[in-house]
Symmetry: C2
Subunit: 260 residues, 2 copies
């Protein structure tokens, strides 16, 4: 792997750590030499991607990504367009709703609207959603190109619960159903006791850019309720997609054409 790749992987690791970590910790975590890890951290710090606590000497995520994110959002307003629909969906269903975005070959949570109920599903902003074990992942894959599906299913598929689907054949079947239905359903895929539904956000005819999902405790997920939530997610996804990609004003909006 290139140096850049290693450094960005280190940054990713830091973002995934619960709290700030020390040099040795980080080095161990990334299987890097202490000296190397330090050089990376210093370099990342120079550019504001990590910060070092002056007192504890521990490292944490810096402020630079905030600036980049604001610029990105100004050019491709995924969050600001999608958030209101997510909130609406959360109000409608009474359950936790989360938005994910596809970047670096992974689906990551970029926004969460918490359910108002006491008994609800918790989703962390920033968490990575495995393709095979989440409704978001299934919805994303189902509407992706064959190449993407093959790639996702060829990797070893971790069983997060005893009900996680890990068989590529079964999964392909599930993706087929999802494609026909228009939204995905995932029972206890990532965590036992959680049922979720999701629909892809996409320009017509092209690969999705993300997904919107509703996650509910299994106790509230009767078959009919699930279908209602699924349809609602689908409707929200469609409206978000229309707002983002417009009624084919492709020429005016270069971002309508996204990388495949």
């Amino acid at each position: 792997m290139s140096t850049i790749g290693k450094a960005l992987t280190l940054l990713d690791a830091i973002s995934r750590l619960e709290k700030e970590a020390g040099l040795s910790d980080i080095a161990r975590h990334c299987a890097l030499d202490k000296a190397t890890a330090r050089r990376f951290l210093v370099e990342l710090e120079k550019h504001g991607f990590v910060e070092q606590d002056v007192e504890t000497r521990r490292y944490r995520l810096g402020g630079a990504p905030v600036r980049l994110a604001r610029i990105r959002e100004a050019r491709f307003p995924y969050l600001s367009v999608a958030t209101p629909f997510a909130r609406e969906l959360a109000n409608l269903t009474g359950e936790t709703v989360h938005l994910s975005e596809h970047a670096a070959g992974r689906l990551s949570t970029v926004h969460v609207e918490d359910s108002q109920r006491a008994h609800r599903v918790i989703v962390d902003v920033g968490s990575i959603l495995p393709f095979h074990a989440t409704a978001s992942g299934l919805a994303f894959l189902a509407f992706s190109q064959a190449r993407e599906i093959d790639e996702a299913l060829s990797a070893p598929l971790k069983a997060f619960t005893d009900q996680t689907l890990t068989d590529p054949v079964t999964l392909r079947q599930t993706l087929g159903e999802t494609l026909r239905r228009g939204y995905s359903i995932c029972h206890h895929g990532l965590e036992t006791g959680v049922v979720s539904v999701a629909a892809p956000i996409r320009a017509p005819g092209s690969t999705p850019v993300g997904a919107i999902a509703v996650a509910a405790p299994a106790t509230r997920a009767e078959k009919e309720t699930v279908d209602q939530m699924g349809r609602a997610a689908m409707a929200a996804a469609r409206r978000i997609s229309e707002r983002l990609f417009g009624l084919e004003q492709v020429a005016a909006d270069p971002l309508a054409r996204r990388a495949g």
Copy 2:
């Protein structure tokens, strides 16, 4: 410079470009060889920091920073805490208000609340604020440590307008006034016809993390108005700082100790 540094500089350059750019453009812009630029871009793309338009082959900022920014914001909620105060300040003054954050040795705009007036100052999210030529920069420096001030003033100071202060001695005097007054004033420093005031956001006794500024057309900047805006900015900054750094719950909130 290290490879990582160069790659992050390239990323920075892309973020600063108005629109997506082609490979040769980017390489020229960063004074890198085309082959090198391409390798960097490919690597950055793998990690979601840039995207390549599949059709035009041009490159643009990717979605990865959004995820990192959300995580950063969850741990150190600078934007979500400061934004409401910025809005309040914008309503109170009727002028454009912007928030900046210190990262990578630079002050960058992370949020803007536009004035409702037709004749108003425009500030771009993501823009870098030079220390010597903006109210935000002066406010930040005035409350920083001597080392930081020396460093900022030792670099060549560009005259953005014919009224930009570029003499280190005069600037130090200005910083002294700012420190006593509690807020900074900048007349036509970055752009002719704009007067702005700013106050630092900081934990008591430590270096600022950013600033909040009000920018008004000079025609509306009577001496008394400026003072009112300055005091209002100061009040907002103080309230934001209190919310961010709390009433000394340092032990509970490790982020209260920030890198100097």
